[in-house]
């Protein structure tokens, strides 16, 4: 098993653009969470999805949205990009909604110019 996979690995966008990041969880895992990690800080929770429904949301504006597909993969969408959205975006999967152990992907590094 390759573990959690994310694409793309790197991305450069300009202010005002839109971006879509993708995540495939570990086989058999039904829960996907998204985190934003700004340089010098720990990851910050954005969303959790379980069984294709949003189950939790962190303190992020409505420009951030996500969805989960029937195969449990997930997309994170960010509209109207700001310079401050530049960060490493991490996806984590767990077996269940209350899965205590979350397994992280390698992340997508987004640079907004």
């Amino acid at each position: 098993d390759a573990g959690v996979t994310q694409s793309p690995t790197h991305l450069i966008k300009t202010r005002g653009q839109h971006v879509t990041l993708r995540c495939s969880p570990i086989s058999g895992h039904k829960s996907v969470s998204w985190y934003q990690q700004v340089l010098g800080q720990g990851p910050q929770f954005i969303f959790q999805y379980y069984e294709k429904e949003e189950r939790g949301r962190g303190n992020f504006p409505d420009r951030f949205s996500a969805r989960q597909f029937p195969n449990y993969s997930s997309e994170l969408n960010v509209n109207a990009l700001l310079l401050g959205d530049s960060a490493l975006y991490l996806c984590a999967s767990s077996f269940a909604q209350n899965g205590q152990t979350q397994y992280f992907g390698p992340g997508t590094r987004l640079l907004v110019l």
Binding site: S33, F45, Q48, R55, G56, N98, Q100, P106
Partner: protein, 112 residues
């Protein structure tokens, strides 16, 4: 709201010396705490969790509810322990999501 504090951004020790990475938390409920580690050019990975009371790679961590701490310790540091360490608290949100709250991390360097 929950909060995790790691007071040391950088920590350097010599090989063979004991190491302690500090973590303090604030949370009104019953905490579930974790240590994650990120080695150079690798993904974030779970090191240990308090409910397991296990020792991984010689590291242990004890939850002290009185002091609201979950410090990570190793009696004899090795050069391969050099990495970024994150303390994290798991809490259930109002929507029943399982949310990890991370500290800002401690970069450990073990000197030869």
């Amino acid at each position: 709201a929950q909060r995790v504090t790691q007071p040391e951004k950088l920590l350097s020790v010599f090989k063979g010396a004991p190491v302690e990475l500090k973590c303090n938390y604030s949370y009104s409920g019953s905490p579930e705490l974790f240590w994650y580690v990120q080695y150079s050019r690798q993904r974030l990975q779970l090191l240990l969790r308090h409910i397991s009371r296990e020792s991984i790679k010689g590291f242990t961590a004890d939850l002290n509810k009185g002091e609201t701490s979950f410090h990570l310790k190793k009696p004899f540091a090795q050069e391969e322990d050099s990495a970024m360490y994150y303390c994290a608290l798991s809490a259930t949100t109002s929507g029943s999501a399982r949310q990890l709250t991370f500290g800002s991390g401690t970069q450990l360097t073990v000197l030869p």
